[in-house]
Symmetry: D3
């Protein structure tokens, strides 16, 4: 198990060696002023990333053949330069998969994935509309889907950009939908939930999360909406007697869930369930973004009357943690 995390390095004594397992996020050969070659690395784990230097590339204690994306075990020590922590690497070797847990190396959901998965299954079990039930069951029964669904992030760098983020987002949406849907009898509950569970399913092929979070080429050229619609359509085609109208409605939910053409939806929501799915998805993404930003501000030690950084998903606005600000006032009295 991994013992030292990037976020802990600041607390270590400078110049005191330690051992740690990290993911190589970038690797570049450079030259000192004196013309001596050295390696500039970015090493990361689920708690952050740090610049590292290998000053003697010919040292036999440094593995010669590691690449970006590899997991390595290093021995080294930290030092601060102009307030920035830096890592000097003395020993470096590749590690086997048994020596670490991938979840330690990339940011991951703080929820228990197995529990999230149970909640997802419970939601499916609660369906009363038989065709939608067997559709969702069939999609989740595909091992390629269910494996990736547990791991995929929900985004490259916006809301839920961590391992398991997609599942976490979907489970949150299930809970939200079960709260809101009964308020509007016009809505077909199971159709909304089908949209909630399947709308982002294409992200399991749009994104790659082995080494950092990136778009696949297929993801860039086709997008998760098309990938997901295709996957779901093929599943429906394979279900005997799946009603054609229901098929059209399910596909429409996926195609329209971004809510605006400019956001890459080729169709706008034209049925109540699609309109609701867009609302729920937008609301949950923005509330989650807000919580992440407030945590970030807190970690940075900002005072209660300081706003967050500008938030991309909220049109570059800064936001105030209203509760903290109110409480700060009361504590004075």
């Amino acid at each position: 198990m991994k013992e030292v995390f990037v976020a802990d390095l600041a607390k270590l004594d400078e110049n005191k060696p330690f051992d740690g397992v990290f993911l190589v996020l970038s690797k570049q050969q450079r030259t000192t002023r004196a013309g001596k070659p050295y390696l500039s690395l970015t090493l990361g784990d689920n708690s952050g990333q740090i610049e590292a230097r290998v000053w003697d590339v010919t040292d036999h204690r440094i593995a010669p053949d590691f690449e970006k994306g590899d997991v390595v075990k290093i021995r080294g020590c930290v030092s601060k330069f102009d307030g920035t922590l830096q890592l000097k690497v003395d020993m470096l070797r590749g590690v086997m998969e048994v020596e670490y847990e991938r979840a330690d190396l990339l940011p991951a959901t703080t929820y228990d994935v197995a529990e999230l998965w149970v909640k997802l299954q419970q939601a499916v079990a609660s369906f009363t509309e038989p065709d939608l039930k067997r559709l969702v069951e069939a999609v989740l029964a595909d091992p390629a889907v269910s494996g990736a669904f547990r791991e995929a992030p929900a985004a490259k760098q916006l809301h839920h950009a961590w391992l398991g983020g997609l599942l976490e987002h979907v489970v949150s949406l299930i809970g939200l939908a079960d709260r809101v849907v009964p308020h509007y009898p016009i809505l077909m509950r199971d159709l909304v939930l089908t949209g909630v569970i399947l709308h982002d399913i294409g992200k399991i092929r749009e994104l790659a999360w082995a080494t950092g979070f990136e778009y696949t080429l297929e993801g860039q050229l086709l997008g998760h909406i098309q990938i997901g619609a295709s996957l779901v359509e093929k599943t429906m085609d394979a279900l005997p007697g799946f009603p054609p109208r229901l098929k059209t409605l399910v596909l429409h939910m996926i195609l329209s869930h971004h809510g605006k053409l400019e956001f890459g939806s080729p169709k706008l929501p034209m049925i109540p369930e699609a309109l609701m799915l867009n609302f729920l998805d937008d609301m949950d993404a923005k509330m989650q973004t807000l919580m992440t930003e407030f945590q970030k501000s807190e970690r940075m030690g900002r005072a209660a009357d300081e706003m967050t950084d500008r938030i991309w998903a909220l049109d570059q606005r800064t936001m105030l943690n209203s509760r903290a600000w109110l409480n700060a006032d009361e504590s004075k009295s």
Copy 2:
């Protein structure tokens, strides 16, 4: 009590006289080809409106001095021209307020206003934050406010454009908020509810609903956001020891609830509660619009596979009643 409604006139025998009480929505003097003057009226009640003609303006059975906005009792009969129903008026006189109920003459909420008001009071009673509780209580305790709050429409011609629409919209939002808020522990529940109850309070002076729904001049020049913020601020000023930070937050909720500068909010939501209020308000308004449009389509006898008219509040989209469409398919089998 009013016995004949505009929506019933199509079922009456042509040329058979009847009596009815209506609101005069417009009145114009015109001349026939032959040069003879006649009156063209628009008469309405809560079920719709109809064109009416007074062919002999000098008839002593026709009151000479009624105006737009008056309530009149008429005797006349209907006839159809080119598929359109028209009303010929033979007798017309003004009526006293005791002879009718205003609610019969303008479209009104289908809910019981007294019950809605109880729900609103229950929501206030459930507040645990004392300052917000006394604020909302103080606003609603003002007879000028509470009277108008029971009557005001929520809009001139969009969602909830009927008497009691404002209260109906607020009560629906209270229910919705109480479903959604617990899903996000970051939110201060009573602050969200305060926004829900007070965000549109300025509409009681922005709109006039005595004779049709119209903007007041004050409403046009200042808008309900400013009117409401001013009313609420004065109430807070009058409450001893109301916390200044809370005052700022409450005003910010009102100012930002439209969610976009282009929609007339001078500030964008910058706290979680304001962001949520904007989401809830938008969601409830659009879902209500959808229900109204589906009812309208049904009334017009549209088939299950026909879309609604273009809907202004949904960017001029047409929408499909998905449930009806699916059911129509099943009924064939």
Copy 3:
């Protein structure tokens, strides 16, 4: 064979009876001032449409049970009212399919469909890239596709809005592509041509052209981009050993061919061939629109120095027929 066309009616003697076969585009029951019911019809064929009246709906010479979308044979005569031609119908009965050609009843391409089809086949035969060749062959080999491809309009009311318009547009694009592509060696010719042939294939299910041109419900909810991508993807899936990268590129061509998210493309063109397809499609659609508008202006007898009506597809601009304007000047000298 049909002998009398709507466009010819203006030349007939008023009040002289004639026989003709027309498509019923609308049918409404109305009432005269005197309360007598009559039928107001819109009758059409490929040359235009005209208002018609059946004054005596009980006449045994009038078939009682025809509907919108039926083809009927009528006897009647024309008259002008306030400059507008109107048709009085004295006899009306349904006709069998052998009594008319559908192409006579809806606007249709002025090209020979068989010849257009040969040109399309020749283009496919010229492919040198074997996988793309068998893909296009497979799509066109499907009888459901090839039949509809010969008939479908390219749009409901913009460019090529006539029977065979889709095929005519594609064949024009093939010719244009074969002119432009060699100018840019960077382009893979067969990939551009595959996009040209398949980009709008989804229109065969997005549109219905049996009685007037309309969107299907599936077309409204999914759109021709998604329908076409799905159809082509399934064909590629069924071809053994079709290269996955090529599959991604072909789908990308279809998804991105509208060139802008706002126009309903979920992806923007990201490869040279997709960029070129969007240019060619846009250019050909606009040039065709221009030619149609100039013909319309000429038919309306506009002078050479008058602009066309506002053209929707050209941002509501009016356009000048430059050649006609220049020639008009020379003819004076």
Copy 4:
């Protein structure tokens, strides 16, 4: 009195010690490569700002407890590194308010504030409309307002971003209004002037200028339009018999003075005086920005045929000093 200004430092001999009073704009603890802590400061006054270093934080000549926002007296010397001037601090202590003038420490209007105030009073004295006169008098009679009005900048970083900038802007606008208003007899002069004087009054609470120019939290959440409207409305409420219509018009002037919803005005100008106020405000702000930018270019030694930097308030345009460019040409001849 302050003797050495930031703008003068470049002329001092390197390494020759001097004494000076500055405002601490930022303060950060850092560490050298060797691990030794030092202080990185930003020191400023009304002529600019400079980076400063305290290399020995334990030196008894360095006060241990100063903060961002304090005014300090330092002894030190300048040196240049890579073309950039830097300040090495050897002694540092806090100073008392009597030892400096705040105006020396923040950029301030170049006009005499007392004279500007007289001009403002003269404008009020010239009012002939009694209600507006007593309104403006009442607002300015509030010591909290009149004190802040003399000090406040007109913006954080755009036009008139200096102490006294708000008053300078308003007095310039008074002069401009008195030139333009008589050209349009449709305008009520005193209403325009009331808008000119009160439109930005909310900035006295939206901005803080004690240490640099920043938004207050109240300013961020409510904005100067709402703050100003509230302040003015309360003043009008307190004036016996103030005409309600006039009250609505005055508030409308304040609410609409930004001229566009996107600029944060909740209402667009709907009366001639509000339209004119928006024009005058926009014109004066842009002309002032232009003058500031030309001065900046001149200070930077730009040639007469060089454009300014991109100007945010002018849609990121660069501008040419036309007069200088013409004169440069004449001087050659």
Copy 5:
């Protein structure tokens, strides 16, 4: 001299014949229900326009050969139909130019054109910059220019859309500029005035005003900015020794005076004088539009608390006549 104006016709007795001179704005041959041909005309003068009918086109008292754009003398009488005034024409003949004043037949400035021209000349005489002075003098010395400059409207249907409107607008702008320019010493007064006088000069060829106000084809294809820039450039080319830099600045003023690319300016204002010209032009056009709309509302008998119609030039806003509204309130007391 013309005695009867369209605006007077409502006061005439129905069926009592009168004689009048009007401009033929449109002429269409139509047919009655009974198949009889008649003429539908639109006749106009500077006070408005009216529909007219010639029921017997073969009557020898009706000139057979008049066209749209001709001036005719008619005898006829008025009648009202459904509240709309209509004119029955019994005699009609063409008239000679001596029989009428063109200014009577099209809306025209209410100012004395000769006086306006004098003011323009005085402005030119006041120039102190010799090159700009001889430029403006040279442009105005061209008889083709000076004749058209006195007649041209400033627009087809927006502000100053009447004969002499261009000159009236320019003279108003001169007055406005002479008020504002001294407020900003940065401005070169004569350059601003040169822009004021010449910016719209291209309208004398962009618009035609012989019979109604219309765009010329040259105007549509090139626009008044290009036409004006070309005319002024040729004049500068013909002036010996005109400074090249000044030439560039003058052309830039014309090219940029619309202030936005979307409004057809190929360049944005990049010198202070061009920025000011755009402000003055925009302000004067909008204030004039406002005055025109208020007069229109008054003519229509609108009450003091009614807003104007939506105004195109003010983003479709309605406006309130604030002075009238205030006065209406005082008159009650």
Copy 6:
């Protein structure tokens, strides 16, 4: 002839002196930490640019008086710092024009300019419309034009931003036009070609290319559309009997060729030939940009599955070299 190019420097031995001729793109005096002055230069040629340092400014082997824009001969040697190549200059002197070819010092077309010019002449020779032929001949006959036309870049930093780029772009467009125009018989071929040849002619005065590519002040204030329209109009004015309508059409082609007001065209294309010119120009510019970006990616050693950088002219999209990506896949098999 120039022997050493910037792009070759990376291959030279570090510290081994070499001689080379370069253009001085920038020159700044700086100071070392130790207070010693040195020169920081940017030197460039048609293959790129590099930072250079002159450490001893008083060395007699360093010419004291060179400026930005001068061509200099230097002796020095390269070294790498942190992966970046830097040039240490030991000797530096100005050179005479005979010692170098300007084309070596700025990026230039890879085509033979003489051959491009012949192709242009052949296009003109092919004209059948005599007036357009003599117009284009007259423009190109002007030595000032024809000289600059051979040298000018087509842009400052977008497509064809190299010496001869304008001519290269025009010749490519001629070829493209001759392919496309016959596809649309509606088009007047020679009018399209006239637009192709003359649309960017104003760039010969809008841009300066003596030392780097920059806008002239005239170019910034007037733009190449206005400069070109003026130049062409004067040429047409000088041709006896040039038809006025044709003149209007030619000017319209130039004014509208950017296709959108936002792109600086004061008029949108309103004739078929202008619409086509805008399409061709846009297509050729974007295809050329694409080729340049693919070459850049290749030069940077990007893998076949990596996208390009964001491309400004393509709305900041990244693009994929589809052919290379497909081939990379095949090479694996």
